[in-house]
């Protein structure tokens, strides 16, 4: 790839980041083994969902695919943008290599386990 192409790609990526998007509502629950994240992304087919872990941030993005009949005019819209995006900063003790994702009927479930060394352990207190 030459210089020109790569700047174009970078520009396209930046444009995508700047496009207006909705924030999907999420639940984040932490237990001793890791973090579970649920996100509501209704209307997003599996192939339009993108999950990215990069430099300690998790990006969830999805494009809404509406099956709209020809010539339809919207009369009332509570969902007014065709995409969702949400970014989270991850903490160091999470093992991003072992993220497990399930996506079913617009509901995303992400499981991010904690790295082995970060799991809680009992510390013995020695009396001397």
């Amino acid at each position: 790839m030459n210089m020109n192409e790569s700047t174009q790609v970078a520009k396209a990526a930046e444009a995508a980041r700047n496009e207006a998007a909705m924030l999907p509502p999420v639940d984040v629950i932490e237990d001793t083994g890791g973090i579970t994240l649920y996100a509501d992304l209704p209307g997003v087919p599996k192939d339009k969902l993108s999950l990215q872990v990069e430099a300690g941030t998790l990006t969830i993005e999805g494009e809404v695919a509406l099956d709209v009949p020809q010539g339809m005019e919207a009369t009332h819209a509570e969902v007014s943008l065709p995409r969702y995006r949400r970014v989270f900063t991850l903490s160091k003790e999470l093992d991003t290599q072992k993220v497990n994702a399930e996506f079913n009927q617009g509901l995303l479930k992400l499981r991010i386990p904690k790295a082995e060394h970060a799991k809680p352990r009992r510390i013995e207190v020695k009396l001397t």
């Binding site: 509502p25 695919a65 969902v79 943008l81």
Partner: protein
């Protein structure tokens, strides 16, 4: 609750929406069923000359548990969504998703044919298409 939208956007868009909703609420006469923004599921309504299309954004449901009823010119979408499971000894850091029973009612135009209604659930999106009555269709009248 109408200051909180289900899928918030950036601050300026939110301020703009807030202003519009304040106007709707005070200047004009609001709908008898309230300004249902922020309630679950979010609903979009659209129409073509031959049909009325309702989209309900209701992720993570079992299609068999969604109750769609058409009665006296209104459409009701009801059901229940369980809140996320919280195992013992865990901490909830963010809790934004809807959990519990829901019911939304939409007034339909007069010309819909209550016999030809079609509901599909895919990717967490419920699409209800109702055909308009034949006699209400625009048609060309031949001049003799």
């Amino acid at each position: 609750m109408y200051y909180r939208s289900q899928y918030p956007r950036d601050l300026f868009a939110e301020l703009d929406r807030l202003q519009r909703e304040m106007q709707e609420a005070f200047d004009f006469s609001p709908s008898i069923r309230g300004l249902a923004r922020g309630s679950f599921p979010a609903i979009n309504v659209g129409g073509t000359p031959s049909s009325v299309d309702i989209y309900a954004f209701a992720p993570g449901l079992d299609p068999a548990s969604i109750d769609v009823q058409l009665e006296k010119g209104t459409l009701t979408v009801a059901g229940e969504r369980k809140a996320a499971e919280v195992p013992e000894k865990s901490t909830v850091h963010i809790n934004e998703r809807f959990g519990g029973a829901f019911r939304r009612v939409i007034t339909l135009p007069d010309d819909v044919d209550s016999e030809s209604i079609d509901a599909k659930y895919r990717d967490g999106l419920l699409h209800i298409a109702i055909q308009r009555k034949q006699e209400a269709q625009p048609r060309r009248i031949a001049i003799k």
